[in-house]
């Protein structure tokens, strides 16, 4: 560990402990660390967007490369700012219409294909055979149908519909349970990573002090 690492990682350890202190109660150390993160993130992202968007897509093409057609999208972007004026707010509708028109045209087809057709195809197209894979297929079809029936409110959930709906709620709960379990693992991973980091830092610092 170098002196620079000892100082910088020391700050990181201190900020980590500041954030963890919130688990006990809200306090000035937590507030300081929270605002520091928010401030740095905002400043970093603002400049990143300026350099990756405004410089690359507006300044350089128009003023350096002389590609004057870039003025059109730049002008549409500027029109968005007319939202702040009551008198000229209507101009922003051109930008919004252009944006929504293109987004809809691009998005609708691929979204339907990806989230509906491919998923339906995968569910309908599976053969139910007399083996483990076939049983798995049966479970998937049963789970999809019963979960859909649970959210179908045009029929009273009684009799056969009620039974299928009941299976549906179990399917949904199993789904939530799987999600919860994985979420716990993810949150523990965040804690563990910090514990490992602090442990590595303390060991490194002890070795650094002992060696110097």
């Amino acid at each position: 560990m170098t002196t620079e690492q000892a100082i910088l990682n020391g700050i990181a350890v201190f900020l980590t402990l500041c954030i963890f202190s919130f688990l006990y109660r809200d306090n000035p150390f937590y507030k300081f660390a929270e605002r520091l993160v928010a401030g740095i993130a905002t400043g970093y992202w603002t400049m990143l967007l300026y350099h990756t968007n405004f410089t690359d897509k507006v300044l350089t093409p128009i003023f350096v490369r002389g590609q004057l057609h870039y003025i059109i999208p730049a002008l549409l972007g500027v029109l968005m700012w007319t939202r702040f004026s009551k008198k000229y707010a209507w101009l922003s509708r051109y930008s919004i219409a252009f944006y929504i028109g293109i987004s809809s045209g691009v998005t609708i087809t691929v979204t339907l294909y990806t989230f509906l057709f491919k998923q339906l195809q995968a569910t309908i197209g599976m053969p139910i055979t007399a083996d483990y894979a076939g049983f798995n297929t049966f479970l998937i079809v049963l789970a999809v149908v019963s979960a859909l029936v649970y959210f179908f409110f045009s029929l009273p959930h009684k009799g056969a519909v009620g039974t299928v709906s009941r299976i549906g709620i179990y399917v949904i709960m199993i789904g939530f349970g799987a999600g919860f379990g994985m979420t716990v693992m993810g949150r523990i991973a965040l804690l563990v990573q910090r514990v490992i980091f602090i442990n590595d830092y303390v060991r490194g610092l002890v070795a650094f002090i002992g060696g110097s």
Binding site: V106, T114, F115, G179, M182, T183, A189
Partner: protein, 279 residues
């Protein structure tokens, strides 16, 4: 007040303290947890393993420091495998804080494998608006990224001369902590139909298995457990496997709390019912 009634009213800070103390145990007493590899993780490993030296692999590092605990180990394991197999790696990030993640990974791993930027790997950089960026890359990587992250023109790099778009790479592997995976599936696979695998956080895992079943992705590395599995396959003991000991201890404590609180809930409910006050 009985023990069970006390457990129903336990201050949440005792639970935090218990978990905090529990995850310190592996620091003091280190032990290894055996990791069994799931098929969805093995598929990605086998795919990368089947590639020849010089083949192109596209890696998207779409996460930031808040999720690096889960995603960094898996990205590291896959990059280790790719560099060890001498694959040409094209890296992009669609997360605003991603450039720092990529630079950390490439700086460490490229030097460990003696890989050279521009010859063995390239970091295209970051662009906002994932859907637009993915679609433009599908036309040509040079449209959204005429120069790489370090302002070097792509055409000046030896490894990028014959590479145009996704049709020139063998697969895309996306490590993501947000809905960027949706963009890759929708605008990437949906429009350009390339093989896609994803490495995702544990929170997201349950939502993405249907894409595996439908064949829209060919593999998933779910959370830190998936990362540990990949490290096991690569033979690279990284942070994923290291975390599993901590996970086991922490999960044991959580399960104990769940059991105790459930027993306490049903026992106290029964008592209330007997007294005529329960529901």
């Amino acid at each position: 007040m009985s023990f069970l009634e006390k457990m129903m009213l336990i201050d949440r800070r005792w639970i935090y303290l218990s978990i905090g103390l529990a995850v310190i145990i592996p620091v003091v007493v280190s032990f290894e947890v055996p990791v069994s590899v799931s098929p969805e993780v093995r598929k990605i490993y086998d795919f990368v393993e089947s590639l020849n030296a010089g083949d192109y692999l596209f890696i998207a590092v779409d996460y930031d420091p808040s999720s690096m605990a889960e995603l960094n180990p898996m990205a590291e394991a896959v990059l280790n495998q790719a560099f060890a197999k001498n694959l040409k790696v094209i890296i992009v990030t669609l997360a605003q804080f991603g450039p720092g993640m990529v630079e950390d990974l490439t700086t460490r791993l490229a030097s460990a494998h003696n890989r050279v930027r521009g010859e063995d790997y390239v970091f295209l950089g970051y662009r906002p608006y994932p859907a637009i960026t993915i679609m433009l890359m599908g036309i040509n990587f040079r449209v959204p990224f005429p120069v790489d992250h370090y302002s070097v023109p792509l055409d000046s790099m030896p490894m990028m001369r014959d590479v145009r778009n996704f049709s020139d790479v063998k697969a895309v592997i996306d490590f993501t902590a947000g809905n960027t995976a949706d963009f890759w599936i929708t605008y990437g696979v949906g429009r350009f139909d390339f093989p896609l695998a994803i490495g995702i956080t544990g929170v997201m895992a349950a939502d993405y298995y249907q894409y595996l079943q439908s064949g829209q992705i060919f593999g998933i590395i779910p959370g830190v457990k998936g990362a540990a599995e990949y490290e096991e396959l690569v033979g690279f003991p990284g942070k994923g496997k290291e975390q599993m000991a901590y996970q086991v201890i922490a999960h044991s404590v959580i399960i104990a709390f769940i059991l105790i609180s459930n027993i306490a809930y049903f026992a106290t409910r029964k008592q209330k019912q007997q007294l005529g006050g329960g529901r």
